[in-house]
Each structure stands twice: as structure tokens, then as C-alpha cells.
């Protein structure tokens, strides 16, 4: 019983981390109709930001997160202006391969600048745990889990309770009608993309004390994030959160029962199955999967 609880707890915590990435990715898809292949690269940049500020200036990631997140936000602004917005409304090949090209570029820029060496940040949070009811919880994981939930809640509140949030929802539902109602659609795109990648960057900083840092670290996570957003329904924020926690638990459970590699295979099989049987995911709007532009 204790073991089951521990596995579920581990799964939930890792699922929380995934949620922070998945919510951003699904928001970008819902609003811009772009699958952001470069999403996890912003997490990677956040990790390196945390590493350099820690190793040069001795800044704790829990401090530097307030410096790095705005920088990643600005980077998101630049990327949206230069790459993403130029691809919107173009053929599928442009939409897909523009961000895929960006992902290759960022990954290898990191590889060239900072080498393939595996780096790590060690702070008080590294390896420290606290025990609740016999279940051991990593401090760093719990902090990032809380940050992820806070972000998801804040985003939900923003989208449903504020004027600008409602404007974003309007663009997600029908960009032409939204434009006719006087909403600056391009600004909505810019804002959405930058906020989403800034969240990815923030997550990178928060997990720096416990994850190893290397140029291709984003790639090890991005496919899992794809699985999550499709399961939850591409474009659905609550769906992404629920699916992230679910995948976290499945991953932890399968990893324990049948080994990590075959566990991974299992959820990819589930992913393919969901795409075939219910492409709109569990929470997605029906017909979202055939939406053209």
C-alpha cells in the first residue's frame, strides 16, 4: 500500500511538471493553431539560464527564476514575430516545419555554445525530501508542482474572468469573428505564445536543481508532452492538466512494473490508439482534429 502511494505521489509530481509544459503547448495550439515543436527548447534554455546564474553568480534558481522568466518571455516575443506569425495561415508544411526548424536550431545552438557536457545545479533543494504520511516527497519536485498548479489556476482564472482572457478565447473560437469585434488578433497571438514559452522557461529553471542539463534535454520530454496534449484534447487547458497527471502516474507505475523502456512503449501505443479512436482527446471539442485553419 505504502509502495502504491509512493508511486502515485511520484507520478503526480512528475505529472505536475509536464502540466506546466503541456498547458502552454495546448494553449498555443488552441489559439494560434500551431504545434510548437520548439516548446521544450525554451525549457532547456531556462535550465541553462539557471545553471549559468548559479555557477557564475551563485544565484539560487528560486531567485533567478524571476530574472530568467521575463527574458524567455522576450525571446518568445521575438520568435513569435520572426517565425511563428509568419507561418500562420500558410500550408501545413510551413506551420509544422517552421517550429521544427527552430527546435533544431535552438538545440544545436546550445550544443555549439555550451558543448554536450552534462551539467547540474546543486542547491539545498537537490536531493532533499520531506515525509508526509510515510510518503517521501522531493522538495524541488513539490515546489515545481505547486508552481505548475498555480500557473494553470491563474491561467484559467485569467482566461475566464478577465476581458483580455475572454478576447483570447474568442480568437481561439473564431479568429475572423474576433478580428471583426475589434480584437487585435496578432497581439493576442504574440501574448499567448510568449506567456506559454515563458512558462516552459520557468519550469526549466525550477527543475534545474534535480534534472541534469544538456542541449537535447528538451527532446527527451517533448514527445511525452505531445502525448499529453493529444490525450487531453489539443487546445484544452483543463484536459492538459488532467492528462499530464494521468501520464505521470502511468509512467511511474509502468516504469516500476515493466521497466522504463517498455513503459514508454505502452503509452505511445495508448497515444496512437487515442489518435485513431478519439482524435479530439478526452476534453477536446469534437471536430477540433479536422479544423483546417
Amino acid at each position: 500500500m505504502q509502495l502504491v502511494l509512493q508511486i502515485v505521489a511520484n507520478g503526480l509530481l512528475i505529472g505536475g511538471l509536464y502540466a506546466l509544459l503541456a498547458v502552454g503547448l495546448t494553449l498555443i495550439f488552441g489559439v494560434l493553431r500551431v504545434v510548437n515543436f520548439a516548446h521544450a527548447e525554451f525549457m532547456m534554455l531556462g535550465m541553462y539560464g539557471a545553471y549559468w546564474l548559479w555557477s557564475i553568480y551563485g544565484l539560487d534558481p528560486y531567485v533567478s527564476v524571476f530574472l530568467i522568466t521575463p527574458v524567455v518571455f522576450l525571446l518568445g516575443v521575438a520568435v513569435d514575430r520572426l517565425v511563428v506569425q509568419r507561418s500562420i495561415g500558410k500550408p501545413d508544411v510551413t506551420v509544422v516545419f517552421a517550429t521544427l526548424g527552430l527546435s533544431i536550431l535552438l538545440q544545436n545552438a546550445a550544443l555549439t555554445l555550451w558543448r554536450a557536457d552534462i551539467r547540474s545545479v546543486s542547491t539545498f533543494a537537490t536531493g532533499s525530501v520531506f515525509v508526509v504520511g510515510g510518503v517521501r516527497l522531493s522538495v524541488a519536485m513539490t515546489v515545481s508542482f505547486a508552481a505548475a498548479l498555480l500557473f494553470a489556476l491563474g491561467l484559467w482564472f485569467f482566461l475566464t474572468r478577465t476581458m483580455y482572457g475572454k478576447a483570447i478565447q474568442a480568437v481561439a473560437q473564431n479568429r475572423r469573428a474576433a478580428a471583426l469585434m475589434g480584437i487585435d488578433v496578432k497581439r493576442v497571438y504574440l501574448f499567448t505564445y510568449s506567456v506559454a514559452v515563458a512558462a516552459a522557461g520557468a519550469m526549466g529553471v525550477l527543475v534545474a536543481p534535480i534534472f541534469t542539463i544538456f542541449p537535447r534535454v528538451g527532446q527527451t520530454h517533448i514527445v511525452t508532452i505531445f502525448v499529453i496534449v493529444v490525450l487531453g484534447g489539443l487546445g484544452s487547458v483543463p484536459g492538459a492538466v488532467v492528462a499530464a497527471l494521468l501520464v505521470g502516474i502511468i509512467r511511474a507505475g509502468a516504469g516500476f512494473l515493466i521497466g522504463t523502456a517498455w513503459g514508454e512503449l505502452a503509452y505511445f501505443a495508448v497515444f496512437l490508439l487515442v489518435l485513431i479512436v478519439r482524435p479530439q482527446g478526452f476534453f477536446g471539442r469534437r471536430g477540433a482534429e479536422v479544423y483546417g485553419g
Binding site: 500550408p91 508544411v93 516545419f97 526548424g101 536550431l105 555549439t112 517498455w262 485513431i276
Partner: protein, 334 residues
Amino acid sequence: MRISDASPISPAGARIAAAAALVLLLCVPLVVRDIYRLDLGITVLIWASLATAWNISGGFAGGLSLGHAAFFGVGAYTSTLLFLRLGITPWIGIFAGAVLAAMLGALLGVITFRLKGPFFVLATLAFGIVVHIINVNWRGLTRGAAGLLLPFRGGPQNMLFLNLWAYWYTGLGLLVLTVGVSMGIERSRLGYYLVALREDEDAARSLGVRVVRSKVIAAAVSAALAACAGSVYAAFIQYIDPDSTTQFELSVQIALVAIVGGMGTTFGPVLGAAIVIPLGEMLRARLGGGAALVVYGFLLMVIVLTAPNGAIAGVRLLVRRLRRLIDSRRKADA
């Protein structure tokens, strides 16, 4: 692609040009004595075939696949394992690989034909990753990350040659096969069906195009040809492992070559291989692997954003301009 974007060369003209190009390619080993260049040339031939195979489903039918390395890998591993375990020559193994890949391609086609845009892309990506995970972890069959080494046994009857020029002709044969199939499909009823489906599936369906059948055939043929390229690659390099055959990056590069050259056209992917592979090799030698990939990523971004029709569109424009120039000169002379 609009009708006005069609090739400025007539079908007969294209055939003559292709025949001339083939004659030139046949002479290459007689002229090029440099081992490094010939080796690079063979790599270009294999990539040209691979991109041409991708283009049949990705370009003609518009199903952007990010999982084609899976079929390449199936071809490489099938012919190699048949040779290592059962002593069956790769000349037969290549067909076994093609049949196996065609079945997998058809299966993937059947389960994904309804998916559009990003959903199709993600499904093919997941499929490719499933195959890669199986390849890495089924150590009893594939030896996992350790890879498989082809011992030099037998020689020509086992697709293993002492001379590079023999591989050149094998690669050229592969290219003739894939381009031939691609040309055949482009000019056939199936080819028109596929383009109609790509442009407007509902309209095509209402006019009687058999949607599922056409897509599944395209997927199967594309997979089979990619597998053939895999078998030739394995015989050429004589060592295969998951990273060099089924990795996600490879799937991206297959698509990249076809897109840079010009997807949806027969010769675009071939042109793409002739541009991308030597360029990549040069960049790697000058700048190192990471920096070369930075340029790759940048190139991919710029091409899809500014010239989604690829390099072949530029070539066509050039031919059209030259024509006009020659015509106006003639008129001036007369």
C-alpha cells in the same frame, strides 16, 4: 500547387532530360576517381531515393510524415538480419524488407487516413518512435544499441562490393527504381487522385475519388521504397544501429530533403538531396556537427517560410525565363 506552377518542360522534354541525366550519372565513376567524392555521391543517391519515397505520400498525397525513418530501418534490418541469420542474400532481402514495410505502411495508412494536419504529423511521429523504441529494446533480434555488423562475405552476389563504383551503380539503380515509380504514379490516375485529395478531400470524395484506397496505396508504396533505400544503405555502410536507421532526427531529415528540393514534384526530392547532402557534409567539415545542424534548422525555417515550393520552383522559373529570352531573340532575328 496551381496549374500555372506546373513544369515548363513538356512530358517528352522531361523524359529526354531525365535520359540525358541518367547517361551522365552512368559515366560518373569513369570520371570521378576521388574516393571521398564518389562516397558522397552514393550517399546523395540513397538520400535522393529516400526523399523521393517520402514524397509519394508526403508530397503527392500531402500526408506530412515524420516517421519515415521507421520504414528505412525496417528495410535495413530485414535484409541484414536475413543475411546474418539465414544467409539469404540482400538481393532477395531487399524485397522482403519492402514487402514488410509496405504492410506496415498500409497499416499506418489505414489507421491515420482520417487525420489531418498536425494530428497526422503527430501520429506518424509516434509510430516512428514506437518502432525506434522496439528497435533499441528488442535486443534478442536487433542487438539494440550495439548494432549489427555486416561481415564481408561473398561479394557481388550478396550486394557487398570491393569497389565503390559498384555501390554507385547499385545506388543509381535504386534511384531509377524510385524515380520511375514516382513518375509512374504522378502521371497515373492514382497520382491525380492523390493531388485532388491533397487539395480538397471533400470535393475529391464527392467526385468519386476513392479516398482510403488511394491514401493506403500511396503509403504502402512510399514505405516499400524507403525500405529498399534502407537495404542498400545497410549493404553500403555495412554497419547499422538504431541511431543511424530509425531515429526521429532521420525522419526529419528525410522530410527536409524533399521540402528543400520541392515536395509534390518528381524531381524536387532528387534536387533536394543533391543540395542538402553535400551542403551538410561541407558544413560538418568546416564548422563541426552542432553548427552544421544550426544551419540546417535555419535553412528549414527560411525555406518553408519564404519558398515552400522548394528549389525546383526556382529552377522552373529560370527555365521559363531562359525560354522567353530565347524566343524573343529568335523573333528579333527573324
